[in-house]
């Protein structure tokens, strides 16, 4: 049986080129010309790398103390000033739209409800069964139906028969409750949303517009180099 002679792995030889040789490796290199040749080749390459000349410095990078004192790290509001500005403008736009809608909406339906509530029952009972489209159109019968819903006590006295329930379709019932900005919950939502948007707009204006204009940080690269050429 013949004994197979193994060589040292290439990567191990590459590392041994600049390290102290372990006894086993030294003994192998002394007896194996191929490994020794490769090991010396790595030593030559490492030596040549160490002898590479240093590149010439383009300038002295030391600081001018006055320039250093004037320099500050770029603050977060400067780094994110454009997203802040976009968000601020969007918030302000939504705030204007929300306030305009809130001011205009409440005048739409409540006053006719109260007027029609005084004489509701006869018209409501005499009216033919309304279709959802008619109900949405807001005619006289719809006003009366809304009045029915708005004054349950009066309706209960004037329309004791189950006929009244048959007259009022489900779509009208959904209109019974005043939804939107006029309701209590709606008002709360509007006020909270408007407050948040106003806060966002105010904070965004400060960090997105005022601070970048008042305390603009100096540029660290490009034309305003701080070293000495």
């Amino acid at each position: 049986m013949t004994r197979h002679v193994s060589h040292i792995a290439d990567e191990e030889l590459a590392l041994l080129a600049t390290e102290e040789l372990p006894p086993a490796a030294a003994a192998h290199l002394a007896s194996c010309a191929e490994c020794r040749q490769r090991w010396e080749q790595y030593r030559t390459i490492a030596g040549a790398l160490r002898s590479l000349p240093a590149p010439a410095l383009p300038r002295d990078f030391s600081f001018d103390p006055a320039a250093v004192a004037a320099l500050r790290p770029v603050p977060w509001w400067w780094r994110y000033r454009w997203p802040i500005r976009v968000t601020t403008l969007l918030a302000a736009t939504f705030l204007v739209v929300l306030l305009s809608s809130a001011l205009a909406w409440p005048r739409a339906s409540p006053p006719p409800q109260r007027v029609a509530a005084s004489t509701p029952t006869a018209v409501a009972l005499a009216a033919p069964e309304p279709t959802p489209a008619e109900a949405g159109a807001g005619g006289e019968s719809v006003t009366a139906v809304q009045a029915l819903a708005g004054t349950p006590a009066e309706v209960g006295e004037a329309t004791p028969s189950p006929q009244a329930k048959a007259v009022v379709p489900s779509t009208d019932r959904e209109q019974e409750r005043p939804v939107g900005f006029g309701s209590g919950t709606g008002r709360v939502v509007v006020v909270v949303l408007a407050g948040l948007l106003a806060l966002l707009s105010a904070v965004g204006s400060v960090f997105g517009f005022v601070l970048p204009l008042v305390a603009r940080p100096p540029r660290l690269s490009g034309s305003s180099r701080i070293g000495n050429r």
Binding site: A14, A46, L52, P55, P65
Partner: protein, 207 residues
């Protein structure tokens, strides 16, 4: 403050507001930082920006510096900035990742190194290495930093430094063997391997 002052005393003085002490540190290490940045990036303008950025960041981070090795710290800052630059370059392919070796006017005359063809071959081979292997070769072989300091710069274990260095040297040898300019070095040293036809580069580990 003289140049013989230790880094620790200069850092302490700079932390106390002594601009001259920090300027001394900058002058002491600007060469190695620029050399590493230039060979990592292959772009003089980018390397110049990286060096400036590294020292500016180091200056503003002096209060947070609690280490003992200023050179490793500023090299780590520069290396991270260089990696950011390389990532940005990958997103914009117009910026070349690999670049021809520096022209002769960019290097200072160095006694004992007269083989400009070999230097060019070495620079070209370095530029072809992957960035992680290139950084290790630059720090260990070119700049002569010890393994533990390189591990601190690159924020990797010492074992990883060694494995990357080994792979990088193997790759460098393969590249240099294929470069006719490098044969000058190998012939000069009389160690040009006589490769047999069909011989494989890979060898089994020593038993």
């Amino acid at each position: 403050m003289g140049t013989e002052d230790s880094d620790a005393s200069l850092v302490a003085a700079a932390q106390a507001g002594d601009h001259a002490a920090f300027a001394t540190l900058v002058r002491r290490y600007q060469g190695v930082v620029f050399a590493v940045a230039l060979r990592l990036l292959g772009d003089r303008d980018a390397a110049e920006d990286i060096v400036q950025e590294a020292f500016v960041r180091a200056y503003f981070g002096l209060d947070r510096f609690r280490g003992t090795n200023f050179r490793a710290w500023v090299l780590r800052i520069a290396h991270n900035a260089a990696l950011d630059h390389l990532r940005a370059a990958r997103r914009h392919p117009r910026v070349p990742l690999e670049r021809a070796p520096e022209p002769a006017r960019d290097v200072e005359a160095s006694p004992g190194v007269e083989h400009t063809g070999l230097q060019a071959a070495l620079e070209a081979a370095l530029a072809l290495l992957p960035p992680d292997q290139r950084a290790v070769v630059l720090l260990v072989d070119v700049e002569g930093l010890p393994y533990d300091e390189v591990a601190e710069v690159l924020e990797i274990p010492v074992g990883t430094v060694k494995s990357r260095l080994a792979r990088a040297r193997v790759r460098l040898r393969q590249l240099l063997e294929a470069d006719p300019r490098a044969r000058e070095l190998l012939e000069l040293s009389g160690r040009l391997p006589q490769r047999e036809p069909g011989a494989s580069d890979s060898m089994p580990p020593m038993e």
